[in-house]
């Protein structure tokens, strides 16, 4: 190890698995979701009848991805409060310490790393807030998505029973009123939120790469090995 650096653990294996499951799901959800919103490739008329299920497969894929997102969201929501490693909620509470840390990281970002007064050994408040925004967007996608899904269960029952559409209505019908009153508003919101998430991802990737380059602490490795290297800042080492 390079002198003056210590290796710090930042992500547990389950967190890393979750990160990549979410990343892959996100790409899949966008690819299938864009097709559902506006089918952008055509089936070939000469295709065999058994292959001609393109929209249905896209919708199937989209929905399976949604279920995987559901599961990871529940696990993440649990870890958010009860993780034995780092409880992210502690970093979102707007207390003096967190606000100071948030400011420091933000100033570091906009001062192009000329000001660096932060402790990079643990998850910082800025990134945790950013992470929280992502999951709020994701929850909104789940709620609006399930609202769109329940439109297809007009009979009020499903292969797994009447409780399922009943529950979907009970849990997601409010999204109709919040977005503007019609089923189309929910769709538009669902589609627009996808773009917000894409923007989120673009900045997220950029920021992690930027940190890696300018902090020179191997931050990008966190999500693969779970660790990074932190400069030893204690005055003794100098």
């Amino acid at each position: 190890m390079k002198q003056g650096y210590t290796q710090v653990k930042r992500m547990t294996p389950i967190m890393r698995v979750m990160h990549w499951v979410n990343a892959i799901c996100l790409v899949g959800a966008i690819a299938t979701g864009l097709y559902i919103g506006h089918p952008y490739y055509q089936t070939l008329i000469a295709d065999g009848a058994v292959d001609k299920y393109v929209m249905a497969w896209n919708r199937y894929g989209h929905f399976i991805i949604a279920i995987i997102f559901d599961v990871t969201s529940i696990v993440i929501a649990y870890l958010y409060f009860f993780s034995r490693f780092e409880k992210p909620y502690k970093k979102v509470i707007p207390n003096t310490k967190n606000i100071k840390e948030f400011k420091n990281v933000f100033i570091n970002l906009i001062s192009l790393n000329r000001k660096n007064e932060l402790n990079s050994e643990h998850a910082d408040s800025f990134n945790t807030v950013y992470f929280t925004i992502f999951h709020l967007l994701l929850i909104w996608m789940l709620l609006t998505g399930l609202q769109l899904y329940v439109h297809g269960l007009g009979s009020g029952t499903s292969s797994i029973g009447a409780w399922w559409p009943w529950m979907l209505h009970a849990v997601t019908d409010w999204t109709l009123y919040v977005t503007g009153g019609s089923k189309m508003d929910v769709r538009i919101s669902h589609h627009l939120t996808m773009w917000l998430i894409i923007c989120w991802v673009v900045f997220h990737i950029y920021y992690q790469v930027w940190r890696t380059i300018f902090w020179k602490e191997g931050d990008i490795g966190i999500v693969i090995s779970g660790t990074k290297f932190a400069k030893d800042k204690s005055p003794k080492s100098e």
């Binding site: 864009l34 919103g37 506006h38 089918p39 055509q42 089936t43 008329i45 001609k52 299920y53 393109v54 929209m55 249905a56 896209n58 970002l109 192009l112 790393n113 000329r114 439109h151 297809g152 007009g154 009979s155 009020g156 029952t157 009447a162 559409p165 009943w166 209505h169 009970a170 019908d173 409010w174 009123y177 919040v178 503007g180 009153g181 019609s182 089923k183 189309m184 508003d185 769709r187 538009i188 589609h191 627009l192 996808m194 773009w195 917000l196 894409i198 923007c199 673009v202 900045f203 950029y206 930027w210 380059i213 300018f214």
Partner: protein, 412 residues
């Protein structure tokens, strides 16, 4: 906002939108007895007009067998078991005991037209002929003071008993001065409230009367609203669609004549028997949707092969109506059957939010400021571009700052 809060509250306290098609033998037996008693009572009433249903059917060349076929189809539409068929047939005959007052407000009279201009009078239309239409501004011979007198008399005579059908939206801007009626220039708003006061139930027919429809489309210069926004404390039934399907109007009146009650309604006050199902799920072109076979432009090979109209902007997947089942003009045809997409005419705000004949992703939406209209994807790509530019600037600046630091004084 308080409206929205109320709506959300209502939502969590109301039942699910489930359409219960089988409520059990005991329920139907009870309902049957109740309906029978009611019909017997009605039979003793004096008919309000001299039209005889049997004669009318005969005049139009419809035999008893055809009528009974209609009766069983209508029974099924109302989600009643087959044993109700004779009662439905009886109720149709007794329709001339149901007084109806029809108001015409801010609209194109398309719903009246839908009734009148059918290719030939079908049973649904004949049933609507025979209802005791006490007042209909467009159809009646009387006009001016005479018409006003007729309305007052009808409202007095059938106080608390008549069904009030309303066609057209209510302009609320400028104190309702956009629409006035009669010699006293009564605004549509006052006119509606006066007529609704003593009605047994108010039935809003067509998209304008239900949700404001086309008059309420952006920018809604007249401040048009639907009946349910102004009439309170009255049973209201919405029969949206542009025009409303006569089959559904008959269904609602029949249900009222039969049971004396309004049919089961969904959260938008639409009868569940008609609006409980999604067009998409009963569409004859659904297989093409699932297969990914779409009409790409009008008249292409897909259009000739009856492919799905989703990419031409069909809104069947988000529209609840029974026209994919009962169709129009006695089952002759319906929009998708003639090869053009659904425009979602039975949903709120359909003109702005459904009828643009493009997939939703290409629909123009308004910026939060209310101004610029762009498609969802244009908005999204705009945001993405802004993020990209921001990142570009930040990255370039960071690189320059980093270099300067490296070439400058050796720090730390």
């Amino acid at each position: 906002m308080s409206d929205k809060v109320e709506a959300v509250k209502k939502l969590f306290t109301s039942q699910s939108s489930r359409v219960e098609t089988n409520k059990g033998d005991t329920y139907y037996q009870e309902l049957f007895d109740k309906c029978e008693a009611r019909l017997n009572e009605m039979r003793s009433h004096q008919p309000a007009n001299k039209l005889d249903f049997a004669d009318l059917l005969e005049e139009n060349g419809i035999d008893r067998r055809e009528f009974m076929k209609w009766a069983s189809a209508t029974t099924a539409m109302l989600m009643l078991p087959p044993m109700f068929t004779p009662l439905v047939a009886d109720a149709a005959v007794l329709m001339n005991r149901a007084p109806v007052i029809w108001l015409e407000l801010q609209d194109c009279a398309g719903n009246s037209e839908a009734l009148l201009r059918a290719d030939g009078p079908k049973i649904d239309e004949i049933v609507l002929d025979i209802i005791s239409l006490e007042f209909h501004e467009t159809l009646q011979a009387a006009s001016g003071h005479q018409a006003e007198k007729q309305l007052d008399e009808a409202m007095e005579h059938f106080k608390g008993k008549y069904l009030l059908f309303v066609e057209g939206s209510i302009p609320m801007a400028m104190d309702g001065q956009y629409g006035t009626i009669g010699a006293k220039a009564e605004t549509f708003h006052d006119h509606l409230l006066r007529c609704a006061e003593n009605a047994a139930a108010v039935i809003a027919v067509g998209s304008c009367a239900t949700f404001g429809g086309i008059p309420a489309a952006s920018p809604n210069p007249t401040g048009a609203v639907g009946v349910m926004d102004v009439v309170k404390n009255k049973p209201i039934i919405n029969i949206p669609a542009c025009p409303a399907n006569p089959a559904n109007m008959v269904g609602v009146i029949l249900h009222y004549v039969l049971t004396g009650q309004v049919p089961e309604l969904d959260s938008l006050l639409r009868p569940k028997f008609a609006f409980g199902y999604r067009i998409h799920d009963n569409c004859e072109r659904r297989a093409h949707f699932d297969a990914g076979e779409y009409v790409e432009e009008w008249g292409d090979i897909g259009a000739k092969n009856n492919f799905c109209l989703y990419k031409m902007g069909c809104k069947g997947p988000m529209t609840f109506n029974n026209c994919s089942i009962v169709r129009y003009n006695d089952g002759v045809n319906w929009p998708i059957g003639v090869g053009r997409g659904c425009i979602g005419c039975s949903e709120p705000d359909f003109w702005d939010k459904y009828a643009y004949e493009r997939p939703m992703a290409d629909a123009k939406i308004k910026a939060p400021t209310g101004g610029v209209e762009k498609t969802v994807d244009e908005f999204g790509l705009g945001m993405l571009t802004a993020v990209g530019i921001g990142i570009g600037i930040h990255a370039a600046a960071s690189a320059i700052a980093g270099k300067r630091e490296n070439s400058g004084e050796s720090h730390e």
